[in-house]
């Protein structure tokens, strides 16, 4: 464990009095809050890693009197389940984070977009929300939060598709720009952050940016919740300091026979054993929204890839050609090669197709299919063919 540091920030001690950190943040100005966020170097925990403070700053700078804060709780990436735990254990921190953001950017309304499969949490979340609204009223913070349910579409975790869904439309990504900070939910300036990011924001307000910065590396500040699954005796949620090598991670969590780790879920990268040592988990290396799936030598990487492509083929919104048809072609393609209906050289053509998808698909979904596809096909080519 010497190279792997466990942290207890997310679930850790908060405050004895309800919404105390939020209340004390109310005495700070918008600028002070944003500067603290920028100073902390916090990057979005959903996976894309945009600087949270900058996102808040851009939105705060917009002149529109109506702005929104949106919490992306549509946790749908295969292999990630940390938001479920966060929302179950510390929903108060999440709501506090949203309310602090509201103060920072001048929004009066926040939405939480909750994954359809998490509907069972709704009663508890609503109870907590009542407590939140009571306290917000008590210390005069004019910021209400509403929970909107998703309906099971993976694509609605993409921020602009999520907005469309809240607006009552078909969940499809929008053209970008404009970015959410300029025209997001209901075309108003919007901050949209992951569940975990909001919790980090609260903890930064509690302990200060300097304390937060002590963890992690210059590119990846702080700690991160990891959803560890697959061939591991220690499956579950683990909060770890960012910047570890994958080798250290596998030493701690592997079963002694790990041949590959899928970092960042189906849309992430597959790292084979030979690259464990030189792979850093963080924004300077392989970033992740938290999903870490370990595979040992008993697993067929063909099956793994087939499973991912099956998922993408079904979960693409179907809006743009490269994703709608590309995913299907990749899936049919590897099946055809496996069955011997296509020569193994067809894999090279499929790799080119995935490259095309990466540069032409409209949103992150279609663009990132190439991540897992290329990393699995290139590293486990023989498993694709034989």
């Amino acid at each position: 464990m010497e190279n792997l540091k466990r942290v207890d920030l997310i679930f850790g001690a908060y405050t004895n009095e309800k919404y105390k950190v939020l209340e004390s943040s109310m005495s700070k100005s918008s600028e002070e809050i944003i500067n603290e966020m920028i100073a902390s170097g916090l990057k979005g925990r959903g996976g894309a890693g945009f600087l949270t403070g900058m996102k808040w700053k851009f939105t705060a700078a917009e002149k529109d009197p109506v702005k929104y804060v949106v919490c992306n709780a549509d946790e749908g990436e295969p292999g990630t389940f940390k938001d479920r735990e966060i929302l179950t254990v510390v929903p108060r921190k999440v709501f506090s984070g949203m309310a602090i953001c509201g103060k920072a950017i001048g929004a009066k309304k926040g939405y939480m977009y909750l994954r359809g499969e998490y509907r069972y949490m709704l009663p508890d979340l609503m109870k907590e929300l009542e407590i939140y609204h009571e306290h917000a009223r008590r210390f005069g913070h004019d910021f209400t939060i509403e929970i909107r349910m998703g309906s099971g579409a993976y694509i609605c975790g993409e921020e602009s598709a999520l907005f469309e869904s809240i607006e009552g439309k078909r969940g499809e990504p929008r053209n970008k720009p404009p970015y959410p900070t300029v025209a997001g939910l209901f075309s108003k300036p919007t901050v949209i952050n992951n569940v975990e990011t909001f919790v980090n924001a609260v903890m930064i307000m509690k302990y200060g940016a300097n304390e937060f910065k002590k963890l992690g590396t210059s590119d990846s500040r702080g700690s991160k919740m990891f959803s560890v699954s697959g061939d591991t005796p220690k499956a579950g949620i683990h909060e770890l300091e960012l910047g570890m090598s994958l080798a250290d991670f596998v030493n701690e969590f592997g079963d002694g026979d790990t041949k590959a780790v899928q970092v960042g879920g189906a849309s992430g990268f597959c790292v084979p054993r030979k690259r464990f040592n030189d792979t850093i988990i963080g924004f300077e290396g392989v970033p992740t929204g938290g999903s870490m799936m370990l595979f040992n030598s008993s697993r067929s990487m063909y099956n793994v890839l087939h499973n991912y492509l099956d998922f993408f083929e079904e979960e693409s919104c179907g809006q743009c050609t490269p994703c709608r048809i590309g995913c299907q072609q990749l899936l049919k393609g590897i099946v055809a090669v496996k069955k011997g209906e296509k020569p193994s050289s067809y894999l090279d053509q499929l790799l080119k197709l995935s490259d095309t998808m990466k540069i032409t698909a409209k949103c992150g979904l279609g663009q990132s299919v190439a991540n897992s596809f290329a990393s699995i096909v290139e590293n486990f080519k023989e498993e694709m063919i034989y």
Binding site: I155, P177, G318, T321, I325, Q328, K352, T356
Partner: protein
């Protein structure tokens, strides 16, 4: 202004200009597929879904869709780098991999945007093959959906939702199964579809086409026991020529008549005649209501709404049933022609109603549905048997080996072929109300109208208002084309804030000249303008330009109908409307 460089050409553009438009300014035509822009009508579709128009923007990792990416100052763009060309080819191959290869027998062959793009991009093989998606085919009285051919350009969806606000078509399902369909993938006739056909007018492939009656007409013509009568709508003559390569806006009235005669129709009549008749009936209704209103009757039922557009009738029956008593009860010209032909004219030539077949040539798909409505049938025999579109007529002419270009111009038969300039302009937005004003003015004031051109009623703006001086009475007129624009005026009526005495509504943008049955405009709205101008030219060239001066209309009233709005006229020329708001059933 912003300065951008496209393929080494520098161009200055205003902020908000897309790369696509900026490139066009310097003569660079970036290929597009899903994109559609009808500039004159303010209609734009840019979901950036097809990804054919992608270009290279220096400094960006990904390619950018030219249609949906705004220029930024100093941007350097390459529209044909090797990366762009390879990508475009791959994207096109992907689209084709999920498209049926039945071009040889496809209704859209030769007019298909997808086919043309495949040619333009020089696609000679499709490296990606796999399963194609298969969907249930959906037919209605007017429109066929062959969803296997849908490429998800979303043009129809934009038309149906944003322009027409009908809200029937939208994207359903996810992933490879994603497609545009009515709710719950029900059939169109189980939806609130108005059959306006604007989805068909913009569909780049054959995913949406009209129900084709070409062969039914051929069979009728070949039946020696039937007298086959044809009527041609005003907008057809301004567009039919396009199907034979003539310039948009070329009037082909005489050649069209000659072709119809050569096809074997026993009588070639004109819907314009029925349009004049509509003016007599609708104009009289307007004046009756107006006089009531002027006499202080608060239930005078104003504004009166025109009722000659069947798409519009379907729209208010579904969406505004509470207003169903406001539109004029006058039937559309197509449906006025039917009973006059099958009663008055059949009598005149001494044949029985059931021995006459009435065919209508319409710029419209909703007319196909209209003539199938039960209230327009007598003992199961429809007043109008078959309604065929301008496009179908062109096919008929080609099937009969007629050399359209070298036809000698011919004249309509009498009596139902005589029409005035007022009847002609029915085919464009503002035309019906202008025709009505010409007659209503003279009847109301008892004076002769010196200038019959009402320029204030013409134009392409979606909602227009104008007032006409009726000898001291200021008649306030509203005009809307496109059902979304109609909705605005209807909401005003519902709210009690409408200031109009009379409102003309046409379901299609531009009026009938832009109908769903017309030759495809492929996104060029100048074609619609040219057609409208052609109709105004025909009107200007007519000796008689007021409906009530049509000698055969006068004769019809004298010998058969009595007076406008008489009992007989009501029986044959008027209709009633239905509340269809609860008629949508879910199977």
């Amino acid at each position: 202004m912003l300065k951008v460089t496209i393929d080494n050409k520098t161009v200055e553009v205003a902020p908000g200009t897309s790369i696509l438009d900026a490139a066009a300014k310097v003569g660079i035509q970036i290929p597009t597929l899903c994109y559609l822009n009808l500039h004159d009508l303010n209609i734009e579709n840019k979901p950036a879904g097809c990804r054919i128009c992608v270009v290279e923007v220096e400094g960006r990792r990904n390619l950018a869709p030219a249609c949906a990416t705004d220029c930024a100052d100093g941007m350097k763009i390459n529209t044909h780098s090797i990366r762009v060309l390879n990508t475009r080819k791959t994207v096109m191959e992907l689209i084709l991999s999920d498209h049926p290869f039945d071009c040889l027998v496809c209704a859209k062959s030769g007019k298909c945007d997808l086919q043309k793009m495949a040619q333009d991009l020089g696609i000679r093989e499709i490296r990606y093959q796999g399963e194609q998606s298969h969907y249930r085919e959906d037919t209605s009285p007017a429109i066929i959906r062959d969803v296997d051919k849908c490429i998800m350009c979303r043009r129809c969806e934009m038309m149906c939702n944003e322009v027409q606000t009908v809200g029937v078509l939208s994207g359903v399902n996810r992933g490879f199964e994603a497609v545009v369909a009515p709710a719950f993938e029900m059939n169109l006739d189980h939806s609130e579809c108005t059959y306006c056909g604007q989805c068909v007018a913009v569909c780049p492939t054959a995913a949406l086409t009209e129900v084709d009656h070409t062969y039914k007409v051929i069979e009728a013509l070949a039946d020696p026991t039937k007298v086959v009568v044809v009527q041609t709508a005003p907008a057809v003559r301004a567009a039919l020529g396009e199907e034979f390569g003539l310039e948009p806006g070329t009037l082909v009235t005489g050649k069209m008549v000659a072709a119809l005669r050569q096809l074997g129709f026993n009588y070639v009549f004109d819907t314009d005649f029925a349009a004049d008749l509509t003016i007599m009936e609708e104009g009289t209704e307007l004046l009756t209501r107006l006089n009531k209103y002027l006499a202080g009757d608060t239930n005078a039922n104003l504004p009166i709404l025109t009722s000659c557009c069947p798409g519009w009738v379907n729209f208010f029956e579904h969406h505004f049933p509470e207003l169903k008593d406001i539109p004029s009860t006058a039937r559309s010209p197509q449906q006025m022609f039917g009973p006059i032909a099958k009663n008055y004219f059949a009598d005149k030539i001494g044949i029985k109603r059931e021995d006459m077949i009435v065919v209508s040539i319409m710029p419209c798909l909703a007319k196909k549905y209209e003539c199938s409505r039960e209230e327009f049938k007598v003992n199961g025999d429809p007043d109008v048997n078959y309604s065929v579109s301008t496009r179908e007529l062109a096919n008929l002419i080609k099937l009969a080996n007629i050399d359209f270009h070298n036809l000698d111009e011919d004249d309509f038969d009498q009596p139902l072929g005589e029409s005035t300039g007022a009847g002609v302009i029915f085919g464009t937005t503002g035309g019906v109300i202008e025709a009505a004003v010409r007659t209503a003015y003279e009847v109301h004031t008892g004076k002769t109208l010196e200038k019959v051109d009402f320029e204030q009623l013409r134009g392409m703006e979606g909602v227009r208002s104008a007032s006409v001086d009726f000898n001291g009475l200021e008649l306030k007129i509203g005009i809307a084309h496109g059902l979304g624009n109609a909705r605005k005026l209807l909401e005003e009526i519902k709210a009690g804030t409408s200031q109009y005495h009379a409102i003309e509504i046409m379901a299609c943008p531009g009026g009938c000249i832009g109908g769903g049955g017309q030759p495809l405009h492929h996104g060029d709205s100048s074609i619609l303008k040219a057609r409208a101008q052609a109709l105004y030219r025909e009107d200007a060239g007519k000796a008689i330009r007021k409906s009530h001066e049509n000698p055969f209309i006068k004769e019809l009233y004298e010998k058969f109908l009595g007076k406008p709005n008489s009992h007989k006229a009501h029986e044959l020329l008027h209709t009633h409307y239905f509340d269809k708001s609860n008629q949508i059933t879910i199977e």
